[in-house]
Amino acid sequence: MTVGDRNPLGRLVKLWLPLAISLLFTLFPFYWMAVTSLKPNQELYSRKVMPLIVHHPTLKHYVDLLTETGFLVWTWNTFVVAVVSTAISLIFGAMLAYPLARVRFAGAALVSFAIAATYLVPQPLLFVPLADIINSLGLGDTLTSVILTYPTLLIPFCAWLLLGYFRTVPGELEDAARIDGASRLQTLVKIVLPLCGPGFISAGIFAFTLAQNEFLYALIFLTKTEVRTVPVGAISELVRGDVFYWGQLMAAALLGSIPVAIIYSFFVEHYVAGLTAGSVKG
């Protein structure tokens, strides 16, 4: 399939044309976010001007978003929640994955089945009982509510991914460490973990983007502006009544996407490795 097609017309039809269409479809919404966020309102809601470009760019929507709404607080909340729940998930994920990867123990099959089942339980199945539980624990409108529940979405993935990485560490290395008197825990911490850095980066990036993306639990558990995350804040507070503040909404959409996009751009390879690990391995 990768045999070079020297015929330029064939190359155009088989490669460049489909790629161009895909990229246009993929990227247009982002372009549209940027363009909209830079337009003054009279241009935004005018049918007379050509809408595809900005005629009189303004940063007014960004200024309003940052000064008149809770956007900065939401961004901080989102960041805190994503970092803490990713950290919890990496630690718990590793604690599940290492014994499964390296130790023969009674009940291993049960544990891996439980992880797979947890992975496949869709969120909408759990939100009603969870809302009741969170409320009865008095955790409504606290960041703790989402910091506790997000890892349930992330741990199975982290465990699965790290399992693959732990298995790539040569068993001889661990045997050698054990013979030299290292305990299992020392072997894990001093030998295995340092070799699995890329695995932790992949799992961490993936978990971080998932946590930034979560909406349903945040929508239900967080109803006050000071605890909201960006997606919930944007959807509930930048739409007042029936009025959509499109300029601000697009500014929020763009600014809310940028942190994820930047982190992602630094670690694309790790992200893709994480994305494909589950489905391509073996």
């Binding site: 604690m95 009603v128 959807i235």
Partner: protein, 317 residues
């Protein structure tokens, strides 16, 4: 599932006949002890926040339980109510249409894009990174952009079609018309999910040895033959896994629909998750909402089973 209790090590000469002394360190080194000490905290965490809510949800679904009041056990009453609720059956149909059409589009579109991407060209890595953007950006935020793209008054799609003289002003209301609303949701779902398919399938394609294609070519296989008898069989396991994830998460989709249509117009895009949310959170009927959410399980299980039969990796074709 109980963890071995971590009793303080007896300091006496217990077991002194066979071993020098009982050593906590050595006890800790036993495979079962070490492993269960490691896995118990995360297992308990998941049991408390996934296992318990799941069974509590089943219990709730058997109750008449308005929010902030005592529940009353009503057996299968909530399920019976759903069975006689015409909106519920609309929800079932909507969810199946949404899942089936979006998944098929993503599967074929993703495979097509993966085949395109599996050629050598400049800026391949950059292209791949850009194509994945819809998948990594928070869904709600990109969906808000789509809502604006499909806005009834200022849709850029309508503006473009009008400018090209393809439609007459003002053009269709993409999210306000019952049929178009479902189609629009499917397009946005495909926009978001297709990169995942394409990039994962591309990774699968890259694991196929070029020698297999060379051998097939020598045996006289055409491009289609190589695709049909080399690519497809070898890609089946990957396609199966990706499709399973996609089906589960499309079937249970919430955020995209909640943002774009809230299930409207007139329940035309109401699916399990949005309907359960409406009843439980907006209507305050926790028991009924839990029941609606749980009715998702049997059809989802059937779908996965059907897929497992048709796309079974070991099935020889």
């Amino acid at each position: 599932m109980t963890a071995p209790s971590l009793a303080p090590a007896p300091s006496g000469s217990l077991g002194a006949r066979r071993r020098p002394a009982f050593s906590l360190g050595r006890w800790f080194e036993q495979p079962n002890v070490f492993s269960w000490l490691m896995v118990t905290p995360p297992v308990l965490f998941l049991a408390a926040l996934v296992g318990y809510p799941f069974f509590y949800g089943i219990w709730l679904s058997l109750m008449d339980r308005p929010v902030a009041s005592e529940g009353r056990f009503i057996g299968l009453g909530n399920y019976a109510q759903a069975w006689h609720d015409p909106v519920f059956w609309q929800v079932v149909i909507n969810t199946f249409v949404y899942t089936a059409v979006a998944t098929l589009l993503k599967m074929f579109g993703g495979l097509g894009l993966a085949l395109v991407m599996n050629q050598d060209f400049r800026f391949k890595n950059l292209t791949r990174a850009l194509l994945l953007l819809p998948f990594i950006v928070p869904t709600v935020l990109s969906t808000i952009a789509w809502q604006w793209i499909l806005d009834p008054a200022f849709s850029i799609v309508n503006w473009t079609l009008i400018a090209l003289h393809l439609i007459t002003p003002p053009g269709p209301s993409w999210l306000g018309n019952t049929h178009l609303a479902m189609a629009s949701l499917i397009v946005v779902n495909v926009w978001r999910g297709l990169p995942f398919y394409a990039i994962t399938l591309l990774a699968g394609l890259q694991t196929i040895s070029p020698e297999l294609y060379e051998a097939a070519t020598i045996d006289g296989a055409s491009a289609w033959g190589r695709f049909r008898y080399v690519t497809v069989p070898l890609m089946k396991p990957v396609i199966f896994i990706v499709t399973m994830f996609s089906v589960i998460f499309t079937f249970a989709d919430f955020q995209l629909i909640y943002v774009l249509t809230h299930g409207g117009p007139a329940n035309a895009t109401q699916v399990f998750a949005t309907y359960a949310f409406d009843i439980a959170m907006n209507g305050g009927q926790l028991g009924q909402g839990a029941a609606i959410a749980l009715t998702m399980v049997p059809p989802l299980a059937l779908l996965i089973l059907a897929m497992a039969i048709y796309l079974r990796p070991d099935k020889t074709t």
